[in-house]
């Protein structure tokens, strides 16, 4: 990994909103802005590294207690504001994702980071179920509990398609240790077994993505690339509005029908037996 986690997130937050500062009262690690996407005000959210954080274990861009509760606060705020609007007018929520992981710290465990993460996931999912289009743009890393907290409840997920994008449950060294393999073996298996791969093109085979986007240099996008990304987000918003507010679309793509056959089969079988019981 040659570039630092979080730089892409910040770069794209800045590109899409024109802002680069947290809102008053928020920690330096959460950027939030109600800005225009096309002609519609949307809430943009991004978690970035804050080397000054009072929690030592989040300083490299991990998602910790303050990050999770701040995300939840900002999401719930727009839910309240838009409460009386009809579904097609509820504002989009755009999560820009470039997170190293959840915070691995004792302070975090003591205070209950599991609940903080759950509270953020709850807010995102509740917004989605209320009719807000929730869109994730994976610009860099999307790891494990960090992604569950920030981005994985979206009803449409977009990602850049270059080698700087990694979506996974655990980083290579740790995953190798826990599954008692060498990193080389893990990499070899990743090429054969799509869900284990660290390559976003293999991730796309799982059918969970709405779209892959290509940007030559994600840290310095050209004006036309920015337009393509904006257009991609706008289309995702429209697509989300035309569909259901649950996550069922993740099993409906052609890729999902191939790779997640077992999931689809289990659901059908359980439903048939449920009816008879």
């Amino acid at each position: 990994m040659s570039e630092h986690v979080g730089l892409r997130g910040r770069a794209w937050f800045q590109t899409l909103t024109g802002k680069n500062e947290p809102l008053a009262g928020d920690p330096g690690s959460v950027l939030a802005s109600n800005s225009l996407l096309g002609n519609e005000t949307s809430l943009f959210l991004c978690v970035v590294p804050n080397t000054e954080s009072r929690f030592p274990c989040v300083r490299d861009g991990q998602v910790g207690l303050e990050e999770a509760y701040t995300l939840a606060t900002r999401v719930r705020e727009v839910m309240v504001k838009d409460r009386d609007k009809p579904k097609p007018e509820k504002r989009p929520i755009i999560a820009i994702v470039d997170v190293k992981s959840q915070a691995y710290g004792r302070r975090e465990e003591t205070a209950g980071i599991f609940l903080a993460a759950a509270t953020s996931a709850d807010a995102y999912a509740s917004a989605r179920m209320a009719g807000h289009p929730v869109i994730s743009l994976v610009a860099g890393h999307a790891f494990s509990g960090g992604f569950l907290t920030h981005g994985y409840q979206a009803n449409r997920i977009l990602a850049f398609d270059d080698a700087g994008v990694v979506i996974h449950a655990m980083h290579k060294e740790a995953a190798a240790r826990i599954t008692r393999r060498s990193v080389a073996e893990l990499e070899r298996l990743g090429h054969e077994i799509a869900p284990m791969s660290y390559d976003v093109k293999d991730y796309a085979k799982l059918g969970l993505l709405y779209k892959l986007l290509h940007v030559e240099n994600p840290l310095q996008p050209t004006a036309s690339e920015v337009e393509i990304v904006k257009q991609g987000l706008i289309e995702a918003v429209q697509d989300a509005r035309s569909g259901l507010t649950d996550l069922s679309n993740r099993l409906e793509s052609d890729a999902a029908k191939q790779t997640r056959k077992a999931s689809i089969a289990v659901r059908a079988m359980l439903e048939a037996q449920w009816r008879k019981s």
Partner: protein, 291 residues
């Protein structure tokens, strides 16, 4: 005098922890109502484990049983901690999500159906990595959809505990029941020691682990609801109570301001003392778990 005469209630109780995942699930139902769905004889197993030379299991370590608890419709989803550490793979995750979604559909059409999740799990099954993580995101979403209609009750009894992404499933549940032996947290001690060093967390310090992740502490700081003795009858009775009660008016994971303020008030210049946190956060009564 024998031990049994000294401590008759403790010795004669039926331990819940000692039961396997299937027996735990069955023990919760009203007699004659339990029916397992997509059981081991349906042989729906992980398609990914055999490709890696790992032996799969015919139920993928996830047991789904539908029936009645205290006279009310309910589905129990139990993770078998003895198979791959109770980890969530594609199939076990899909079973859990499907069961929750069917309970939601029944609830929406007038037949309120509670869900009980018996969680003994380290989270994502790393051999199915991204499909496990995706499945957990879907489980969380499906819990949130159901709990608007009927309660979702998580039980962490021990001995695996509930860690990783599945700790978020506990976090969004309507109620969480734990024993003193159970642990609940996002990152297990070994993972923290490995990622942040032994000074951050000494994973061999069992007293420290239980002081932070243990059932008594989680209930004590209000992050779980009930501390129950390791006794199948008492656990069943606590579950019945919550099935009867229905969902709470506000779920714990909706209390953003309360929790954000609590975090803001923490002194992070040093590690946080678990016991003083109990006093400050006014958690729940923990006498229920006393023997």
């Amino acid at each position: 005098m024998s031990t049994a005469e000294n401590f008759p209630a403790f010795v004669n109780r039926k331990s819940f922890i000692e039961l396997d995942g299937r027996a735990r699930a069955r023990s919760l139902f009203d007699e004659g109502t339990a029916k397992e769905l997509v059981g081991p004889f349906d042989r729906v197993q992980s398609p990914w484990l055999p490709l890696q030379g790992v032996t799969p299991q015919a139920d993928d370590g996830c047991i789904v049983i539908k029936g009645k608890i205290g006279g009310l419709p309910a589905v129990v989803v139990s993770l078998e901690g003895a198979f791959q550490g109770g980890s969530i793979g594609e199939v076990s995750g899909a079973k859990m999500t499907a069961a929750l979604d069917l309970a939601t559909r029944d609830s929406e059409t007038g037949k309120k159906t509670a869900a009980v999740l018996l969680l003994e799990t380290g989270g994502v099954r790393l051999q199915e990595a991204n499909l496990g993580l995706a499945a957990i995101a879907e489980v969380i979403s499906s819990i949130l959809a159901l709990r608007r209609h009927a309660p979702v009750i998580t039980v962490v009894a021990g001995a695996v505990g509930c860690f990783g992404g599945m700790s978020l499933a506990a976090g969004v549940s309507s109620y969480v029941i734990m024993t003193k032996e159970a642990r609940l947290g996002l990152n297990g001690p070994e993972v923290i020691e490995q990622e942040s060093g032994i000074d951050e967390f000494d994973a061999s310090d069992r007293a420290l682990i239980w002081a932070i992740h243990g059932g008594e502490q989680r209930v004590g700081i209000g992050e779980a609801d009930a501390l129950v003795e390791d006794d199948a009858e008492k656990i069943t009775s606590a579950i019945r109570g919550y099935v009867q009660a229905g969902p709470p008016s506000e779920h714990r994971s909706e209390q953003v301001k309360l929790n954000r303020d609590r975090i803001a008030a923490l002194d992070t210049s040093k590690q946080i003392d678990p016991i003083s946190l109990r006093k400050r956060w006014n958690g729940n009564d923990t006498t229920g778990g006393a023997r």
